[in-house]
Symmetry: C2
Subunit: 455 residues, 2 copies
């Protein structure tokens, strides 16, 4: 081990970020604005404030302020589970026999099991500050719902979670964690909303989808006095809050003279990747440094690598604003054998724009190879990773093995977004040799992309 660099770097409390970094301020081409699906015009603050808390709507529209101070109440909460350690993967390096140096930023040391808590607590705080009774949201794999439940319990807010029905049934323990934190969890589609009833009538026996749960949560928010809707990824405000990941990472790197050559993150809606790379992208945009950025997505839900950059609906019920993003079409649902999260049809507008400009790269990985990497990582580095995070592990290992061939001593940094403790059904499938891969055909993708609105 390098005596100058601890196995795990924990920043001290006074080294923690006091402001979030808004990468949009440094982007020459700003991400395309959200559009009102009725008028086709950019959403105004007033319109957005009907769905989101006003302060969050402001953050969503703010393309100019580079640093937004983190309120003290949120800083206090962050201290419960932050700093997240930046870990030198000495054991993995040794096992691979690579000259590369590997680091990972580990966001799983909290009960929600992932980075999602960074934005959940911010969104709950602004809801409380606005005097709201509660918030509504959707959850698929359950990480976001758990994070939001914890945040709402802390601020004594009501929390209504629409959980994709198939997850509600297959992940009863996730549901119980949310209930333990006082959340009200409803399997979606449900008969508690009009959009839910419509979908149930049209597709009886459906096990739900993320897009459908979003529609229900939005309807529940706009039809209940004192409620707003909150979302755990995709939005620019979420990437803003998640910049705390990248800011901590950059401070730790600078403190110990670590200069990453490659920065890797898994990408579903983009909240983790966007947060991790934000300040590094900032340096690149300002010409202060250069890095290679790699987004890793599932081969079964390849929005960046095979999607189209266009305006699309964010939800199945088409009640949300339109967003310009790399998308597979709002009706796209990954094949049933898809095990982990990262199943959203589109990608954050910020990341989509950066990708379109060639500032970041994207790769896709098939899930059996992802679980192979996950198991290898668990046995060598101790921590059992979330399937989502394991996409980044897979590509980090690939890159480290390339260095072994070429002899390059690259510094590889990746985001370990969370733990897999509630994903053992998927691990069991892998352990039993029953996991399969699926890559959608060009025809399938063309069909779902054909549903994009004509804008």
């Amino acid at each position: 081990m390098d005596k100058n660099i601890p196995y795990k770097i924990y920043l001290t409390e006074d080294e923690l970020p006091k402001a979030w970094y808004n990468v949009r301020a440094d982007m020459k081409t700003k991400p395309a604005p959200l559009l009102n699906p009725g008028t086709g015009k950019p959403m105004t603050l007033e319109e957005l404030s009907g769905v989101f808390c006003t302060e969050l709507a402001k953050q969503e529209l703010d393309n100019d302020t580079a640093f937004i101070p983190i309120p003290d109440e949120i800083l206090d909460f962050y201290k419960m589970y932050r700093p997240a350690p930046l870990v030198r993967a000495y054991f993995l390096e040794k096992a691979l026999g690579t000259p590369a140096k590997i680091y990972y930023k580990f966001e799983g040391n909290n009960t929600s099991g992932s980075h999602k808590l960074n934005s959940a607590i911010a969104q709950a705080y602004y809801a409380k500050k606005q005097g709201l009774k509660g918030v509504t949201t959707e959850t698929g794999a359950g990480q976001w719902g758990t994070a939001l439940s914890m945040a709402c319990a802390y601020f004594d807010l009501d929390c209504k979670v629409y959980m994709v029905k198939v997850s509600y049934e297959q992940k009863p323990f996730r549901r119980e964690v949310m209930r333990t934190y006082g959340a009200n969890v409803t399997p979606s589609p449900s008969d508690t909303t009009k959009v839910g009833r419509d979908i149930l009538e049209k597709f009886p026996g459906t096990t739900g989808s993320l897009g459908c749960a979003i529609s229900e949560a939005v309807e529940a928010a706009v039809t209940s006095e004192g409620y707003r809707y909150v979302l755990g990824s995709v939005l620019s405000q979420v990437l803003l809050h998640q910049s705390v990941i990248g800011l901590e990472t950059m401070t730790a790197c600078d403190k110990y003279g670590i200069k990453p050559d490659v920065i890797i993150g898994c990408a579903g809606g983009g909240s983790n990747l966007g947060g991790l790379i934000a300040p590094f992208i900032g340096r690149k945009l300002r010409g202060e440094a250069d890095y290679q950025f790699i987004a890793v997505e599932p081969a079964s839900c390849p929005s960046l690598t095979r999607g189209k950059y266009a305006y699309d609906f964010c939800d199945t019920g088409m009640v949300c604003p339109l967003a310009k993003m790399y998308t597979l079409g709002s009706g796209f649902i990954p094949s049933p054998n898809h095990a982990g999260g990262l199943r959203y049809h589109g990608m954050s507008s910020v990341l989509s724009e950066l990708y379109d400009e060639g500032l970041i790269e994207a790769r896709s990985a098939e899930q059996t190879s992802v679980f192979e990497a996950a198991t290898q990582f668990a046995r060598i580095e101790g921590t059992l990773p979330a399937p989502e995070s394991s996409h980044a592990i897979k590509v980090a290992i690939d890159e480290a093995l390339k260095c072994k061939e070429t002899g390059e001593e690259k510094t590889i940094l990746f985001g370990l977004t969370g733990t897999g403790y509630f994903d053992m059904v998927a691990y069991q499938k892998f352990n039993d040799g029953e996991m399969s891969d699926y890559i959608p055909t060009d025809e399938e993708l063309a069909k779902s992309i054909a549903t994009l609105p004509n804008i």
Copy 2:
């Protein structure tokens, strides 16, 4: 918040303990020796070495060496998940409105979810160093089996786990974590051992017990070439390894001028409590400081508060050495409504002796009150605690509320041994209002205590 004391104290790598502390060296009356059940005489090193790794057998018998150096390979592994933070429970203090200062040492930030990994890695290391093929063990709630699987994966050792059948069936996810780390998990009683077959014949349809799984694991070890048996609690060697908890805690306390008045830990076999308090007990024994120590056990399995201090069998099959301990009798099984761990019939000989001398106190808690404390803690401090750990939380809250009444500004320290992510069946029962309490009657306890051997 007190500006001088961080919310979470992480020691730096060079502040971490380099040697384990053996509290027996400072005890005036040593814990009673293990006895050979055949001869009634103290177990010799040779006899013990047939069951345990030789180096561990030496540690088991060593009542004199105060500090035993931690081998470098174990120190390296410790760096994967240690230091464990010492957390100031600012939010809990505020919610309770107590003048007390509350601290907890959190051991759950690793995939095994508990402190058990501290001893698992030590036992796996000595097995590897001795050139063994593998180890056998039993697991009930699954924390120990998971920890041992992780340790064996790291040292590439075979790992055979006998898992109490009822847990094997009710906790499939625990089982899958162990399998992911490469362990071989067998529901106990099984037909792979003679003692298992005998029990199955005598009690067809039994769902097993910890004492029975121990017997199977010991038989599997002594009848397989190149295997030894390892145990996750009760033994003096385990308390030795767990002293790393107390040593880190003491270093952190000394560094920040924190002087605990009361130190609280849950107690099943005693490994966590014994490890947490070891160096503090040492100071008390040497007359350097005084502390109040409280062991908290379930009212449904009250070995310290209602057991007898006597020699007893450690397992149902009566193949293990006899240990002098506070015990409820080796046939004692907690009532079926008992939800968490802490279900062993006896208590570590070291702790039993300290308790008998009045150096530590003991209290029992009923499980509904324990889950109330657990839920309160989760919502306020973020982390969802293991049911076992929540026994300590319950009494820490009780003590803090007493301070509220009296106005005393006591410093309360407790061990948060782990997380409850694999205990959601129990939380669900509590959330649904279906959890009940059970206190064994005097007659029941008298009956099971009457089975003690006549020594």
